[in-house]
Symmetry: D2
Subunit: 142 residues, 4 copies
């Protein structure tokens, strides 16, 4: 496993949990969106400019989520992220949510996104600078 | 208490609850938004047309929320709503969340909204037809 | 495609949308949870009793979500659901979100759940009555 | 206005926004919960221990929220917090959400919370150490 390209620390809040006493499955996906957004910016993608000035947005086309072990109330977790690869019309990300205190792997998320011109919804070409950012996690164990 | 102008039945979902084993405080406000939206439409407000064709939106200016008794997992609750009054630039709603099975009053929400022209954020005059919809709950006990 | 075992009508709310002017990807998954919960109950699964009396919960183990076409503000959509199959420790669901007005297929969701004893997190055997509920959508086109 | 006792920086995400192109009213309240939780811990309240070991939770009894000016997509905002005062059965917080880039005051939130023993819901006495934390914002302009 190569080192993550971005790591977001996150503290589990009440609103992340449910009556089962663990984190609700939707909460992890919010954390992943935060990690993806901040990673994209850290890597130099100009998605903020594209959204603000051109109404172009990175939208989720597909994701595949595996829930391995629940994060618990008040846990300090980390969301690790990688840009797996980019094609003409798609960019692929991998994220994992881990609890560092015992190195538990909680959730694995694979996402495919497209860059879309709103409001028409037309799919745009992925900028070539974005393709250069790929640093796959090189793992076959997920 | 006058009869509600609108009643929305709601079933408590896992995502509405938290680790305390009760409904999370934010969930009630989602239900109230659903009730307000559906009540507005049932009463004949043309907010969908205003939003779609003119980019004019009813936005929340103030709300005051009292949490009296928690709703519980899988409860069947009801959100009752009233248009309290309307002024030139504001429309006031009252909502209560109740559990009919034991008539528990769970939450009371008072909201003031304005009609706003986006993207500028300019406050518009409340349509006079909306003012005619007011049917205050005539209660002083909240 | 066999007829859905359950159909949940849903009206798109403001809180379901985002700045792109379409429904946010997480909102569909809330609707699917509502559909799955109500379908489970309609089909006779006793998950409410299991949760309340035994602290046993159906938890998401894996889901695979394909976003085909966005639902739009104020759309009336429907979430159709099927129990695909059940094994000793897993039950598989298929959901689709459609906009009936133009029969657009918006989102496809495949989910695998387990029945878990909380707070230990021990995986339980799927009740045999649940296995009898399977009515696969018999489609290979997703 | 006295200096805040805690300040949480926050970056506006897609899931915080709605079709109006601004932050949805519920999102601010999530940020405030995050700020309150982290402030409580920073000030030395032992709410994590109380929740984990005694099933005692700080629950919202009342809040009053004024929306003055919307936060916008990708804004960097800050949530400032104060413990206003504490009584035998209640603790009062004040929060404001500001956009530092132009010092816009977006939202003001006043909250009253109680410490509650779950699952009975019995209201407990506020710990005397918590009372000593009050540092009211000493403002009359809200």
């Amino acid at each position: 496993m190569t080192a993550p390209q971005f790591s977001l620390p996150y503290r589990v809040m009440y609103y992340d949990t449910d009556m089962g006493g663990v984190v609700h499955n939707l909460a992890y996906l919010r954390w992943v969106e935060e990690a993806r957004t901040k990673m994209s910016e850290a890597l130099g993608m100009d998605y903020v400019t594209l959204a603000r000035e051109k109404n172009q947005h990175c939208v989720l086309v597909h994701h595949d989520v595996t829930y391995l072990s629940p994060a618990l109330p008040f846990d300090d977790v980390v969301v690790n992220g990688w840009v797996e690869r980019a094609e003409n019309a798609s960019i692929y990300f991998l994220f994992e949510v881990r609890r560092p205190s015992d190195n538990t792997l909680c959730v694995i998320v694979r996402q495919r996104l497209a860059l879309v011109q709103m409001p028409q919804g037309r799919v745009l070409r992925i900028p070539k600078e974005w393709k250069a950012l790929a640093a796959p996690a090189q793992t076959s164990d997920h």
